[in-house]
């Protein structure tokens, strides 16, 4: 991968993500000097964003081992630093039928200001069942609250049933 001037890569991972992989990636993040040099509040925001991004892959990601997927693409997790800003990019295959739901949740948090995000957070944390379901987007709301900018996202169709979903969150260092 070509390095742009001033861009530093903290994590550049592509492959299946299990819970153990998540631990390894978080260890790698903690060990990086760019992470350690951050102020504590920003560091926690970045750490939380990486955790929630991976949780989101667990919730929506389609297993890539399935033989039925001809054009399968592995999940990615990338953390880089440019001009004092940290960029977290997460990508994974999703089912096309889940796109609408994800888009709705992403557009919703992107349109809300801090106060409105707080009240949405309250609605959802109180309403959401404590069953281990996909969640009503509490992770996305938390990420939106911690980021100064909109959550960027894209869906690229892979086949009739699957698309590759990419999400980008920016944390000020």
């Amino acid at each position: 991968m070509a390095l742009k001037a001033g861009k530093k890569i903290l994590i550049d991972f592509e492959g299946a993500i299990s819970y153990a992989t998540m631990e390894r990636l978080l260890n790698k993040l903690r060990a990086s000097s760019d992470f350690q040099d951050m102020g504590k509040p920003a560091r926690k925001r970045l750490y939380g964003t990486v955790v929630e991004s991976i949780d989101n892959i667990f919730k929506y990601g389609v297993g890539i081992r399935g033989k039925e997927l001809a054009n399968k693409r592995a999940p990615i997790l990338n953390v880089s630093k440019t001009k004092g800003r940290f960029i977290v990019t997460a990508g994974n295959m999703v089912r096309n039928e889940d796109i609408e739901d994800l888009k709705f949740k992403l557009d919703r948090v992107n349109q809300l200001d801090d106060e409105a995000l707080k009240s949405l957070y309250e609605d959802i944390i109180n309403k959401e069942s404590t069953d281990e379901d996909r969640g009503a987007g509490l992770g996305l709301i938390t990420m939106a609250m911690r980021s100064e900018e909109e959550i960027g996202y894209s869906f690229t169709e892979v086949d009739n049933h699957h698309s590759y979903f990419k999400m980008q969150i920016i944390i000020n260092g």
């Binding site: 631990e23 926690k44 750490y47 955790v51 929630e52 949780d55 309250e122 944390i125 281990e132």
Partner: protein, 131 residues
């Protein structure tokens, strides 16, 4: 009833719920692999404790210490459930005081505490931890 002690791991907090010593504390990081499996025993314990407390009303407030370094959004739901359960005890006449610890520069953790307090209607005392 038995006390409940769970030791911390890299991704789950230390839990100490000791009704005999009146020590109640959560500390560390919370993003266990299965959040539900982790918190259900805690919520069950609190339910049993709540029944116990209602039998023997005491004038001394019960102090619960929360000293989280980090918790993910899935844990947040269960942590709110803990507060809702404690509110039940509080409402039944045994005062419950939450001590919410946050590192001095961790505004996010402080704010989450305020939200949790408002949502659960429990009084929180904020303890700034110097780093």
């Amino acid at each position: 009833m038995e006390k409940l002690i769970i030791e911390a791991t890299m991704n789950s907090p230390r839990v100490e719920l000791d009704h005999e010593k009146k020590l109640f504390e959560f500390s560390g990081e919370s993003r266990p692999e299965n959040v539900r499996n982790f918190y259900l025993p805690v919520l069950d314990w609190l339910e049993e404790f709540s029944a116990e407390v209602s039998k023997s009303k005491s004038n001394t407030p019960l102090v619960f210490n929360f000293n989280f370094e980090y918790f993910n959004s899935t844990s947040a739901k269960y942590i709110l459930d803990i507060f809702k359960s404690l509110y039940g005890i509080h409402e039944n006449g045994t005062e419950v005081l939450i001590r919410w610890h946050y590192e001095e520069d961790d505004e996010d953790m402080y704010e989450v505490g305020m939200e949790m307090s408002r949502m659960s209607r429990l009084p929180f005392e904020y303890v700034k931890v110097e780093v």
